[in-house]
């Protein structure tokens, strides 16, 4: 099934201009906002994906939806548009749209792959990388 793959074909994985806005905010308050948010993201991404895989194995969709909800906002804030969209759709699919198992499976695969892609985009922005 490639329903979401086709749906997301025009969405960019990463929008670097989002980080520019955060960098400016950081300069204004003299704090390294980008580094703080990136460090948080790397930690949260690792634990979220590990938990998501476990909950998927256990067919615990409720917890998967909760994880998707928690993780998506930070992804959006960092300009990870496709990942943000996939997490949002996964949350809505489970909570409000009947949780079709094929679609859930497709989205989990997309999220897994997209998470790896996004980490590679973000690593160069981390201080000391």
């Amino acid at each position: 099934m490639n329903y979401y793959v086709k749906l997301y074909s025009e969405i960019e994985s990463f929008e670097p201009s989002q980080l520019d806005g955060l960098a400016k905010l950081g300069r204004d308050i003299k704090e390294d906002v980008v580094s703080d948010l990136l460090s948080l993201h790397f930690t949260v991404a690792a634990t979220t994906m590990a938990h998501m895989e476990r909950f998927y194995k256990d067919n615990n969709l409720k917890e998967i939806a909760f994880l998707a909800h928690q993780f998506k906002s930070n992804c959006g804030q960092l300009g990870l548009n496709k990942l943000h969209r996939a997490l949002n759709d996964l949350e809505n699919l489970i909570r409000y749209e009947g949780a079709d198992s094929e679609k859930v499976s497709e989205l989990i695969n997309i999220i897994r792959d997209e998470n790896e892609v996004c980490l590679n985009y973000l690593i160069p922005y981390q201080k000391g990388a």
């Binding site: 905010l25 906002v33 906002s73």
Partner: protein, 217 residues
């Protein structure tokens, strides 16, 4: 993220993990505005909102819901329970700052009273359908202006079914009336846009660019 923006505005943000700590803090120090997350441990943001609104000493503190959930039902429930705004994550720092600034400058208690009285008088008597002529005169990321035959009370919140939003593929947003001026027999009503996600705001930005400069908000 919200914490950083509020810091930049010159305020001192206090981060609290749950409702118990929030209530304790509100009772021990003056607070200008509360920014609530919808999904929290033990009590949801909506339940916390209801709880605070029932406490006379705290009920007038403006409360903003900040959440990743953009469903119209959540927006409606939140505004009906007394939140002054509903902001969808991820936040645009400039828009968030603009909204918080406006809230801090407004006399929120007067707006809320006007909205409640208007709704109550309709429900007490009978169901009346009033068909209002509405034309969107200008639209921006945080507000739009309507030309309409109906005088809306300041603070009144409603959902717009303008075909413009269908055209932009945006779910009908909640509109909160900020001002209403009588001009040439019609009312120019300025409304805040509530509950729009970043993706939807992008569509409005693109639409603004297509408009002639004289019409863009």
């Amino acid at each position: 993220m919200a914490k950083y923006v509020i810091q930049r505005m010159g305020y001192n943000p206090v981060l609290l993990e749950n409702a118990k700590k929030l209530i304790a803090t509100l009772q021990s120090m003056p607070v200008a505005t509360i920014v609530l997350d919808y999904e929290m441990p033990e009590l949801s943001g909506l339940d916390v909102l209801k709880k605070i609104k029932k406490m006379p000493s705290l009920s007038l503190i403006p409360i903003v819901m900040l959440t990743g959930n953009s469903s119209p039902a959540h927006v409606k429930d939140t505004i009906l329970q007394g939140a002054v705004d509903y902001i969808v994550k991820p936040i645009d720092p400039a828009i968030f700052e603009s909204k918080i600034n406006k809230i801090l400058k407004n006399d929120i208690s007067a707006n809320k009273q006007a909205w409640i009285e208007y709704e109550l008088s309709r429900n007490k008597n009978h169901q009346v359908r009033i068909y209002n002529y509405c034309e969107i005169v200008s639209i921006g990321e945080v507000s739009l202006t309507l030309n309409t035959n109906q005088d809306y009370p300041v603070g009144y919140t409603f959902f717009s079914d303008s075909p413009l939003f269908q055209e932009l593929e945006i779910k009908n947003p909640a509109l909160k009336v900020e001002s209403s001026i009588l001009k040439d027999g019609y009312f120019l009503v300025q409304c805040s846009l509530l509950g729009l996600s970043e993706a939807e705001l992008k569509k409005i930005r693109l639409y603004q660019k297509l408009l002639s400069p004289s019409r863009a908000a």
